[in-house]
Amino acid sequence: MVDMGCQAGIFAIMASRDFALERSFPKLRTMPYVLTSPTDPQYNCVAFAVGDLSQFWYDVNINGYYWPPGARSADTIEGWKDVFEIHGYRETIDRSLESEYEKIAIYASADGPEHVARQRASGLWTSKAGKGRDFEHELEWLEGDFYGHVVKIMKRKCQGGRRVLE
């Protein structure tokens, strides 16, 4: 029985970590990030940030993808900024929690926009890592070689007093 309990504990610890995620974002190895979904290629970080779990948001001339009409190229930071402006967000420099506002943070590297995270009511940020898993984290934990650094914070008033997907 003790052995079974130890094994169950080991499995619980292993299930709470994603080693692929930690390979991409080494800072996560020593941080208490929280996994909140399984891997799912259906949607990406942009879709997740606006609350869409059924489409992969990208600007490509092939069916199976979505990009809001009027937004510039998905390969540019301006294009990603356009997407969130279409959804009512405006730029800000303040990344702290403001209870009546929901915020997003765009990461970019020298190659262009890489990722966007959304702030939760707790103040923690939540992300969909590409085709991988959703997880909660602090903004700095994802900064590094893979996603670059946070280059833009945008905010909007909570719609009907509620946050996306909460």
């Binding site: 490509v60 092939i62 199976g64 979505y66 890489e114």
Partner: protein, 167 residues
Amino acid sequence: MLSHSPPKPGRTRLHRQSPKPYRPRRRRSGGGLKAVTSHFDMPTSAVAPLPFDSFVLRMGRISYDYPEREEQRTLQNEFREHVERWKEDTEHYSSLSKMIMHPSYMRIMGMGPAALPFLFRELKERPDHWFVALNAITGLDAAPPKSTFNEAVSAWLTWGAKRGYLQ
């Protein structure tokens, strides 16, 4: 092999010859093996000639080799390696451009129509962003406009099944 020298009175003498290994006779010109003749004195007409293309002597054993099947297995192995490498490297990409520019994705597209059976099986078992590759190889888009990822997967699998790419 035993041979008998003429028996001397009152005594039988046996001479054991050292065993000789079986070696098929090779033709020097034209290459390969056309027919096998026994070490023993058997008329060649009694030995059926073996077709060259399907006969290879390896490691002292006779085995049959099917070149087309070997090529198929090699391509499938290569495909699988590239799929695993691509999946691992691009799992955390939100950019479709970066996904399809990955060398393994480009190599899979470069395999052309030969990769289609493998691609459709992969799409069925582990749906992923193969639409660009399928579009590039087939020259068409089987997914309807404004389809979601899952709808596009379903449309492509239906298209592939109708054309015999899925068992």
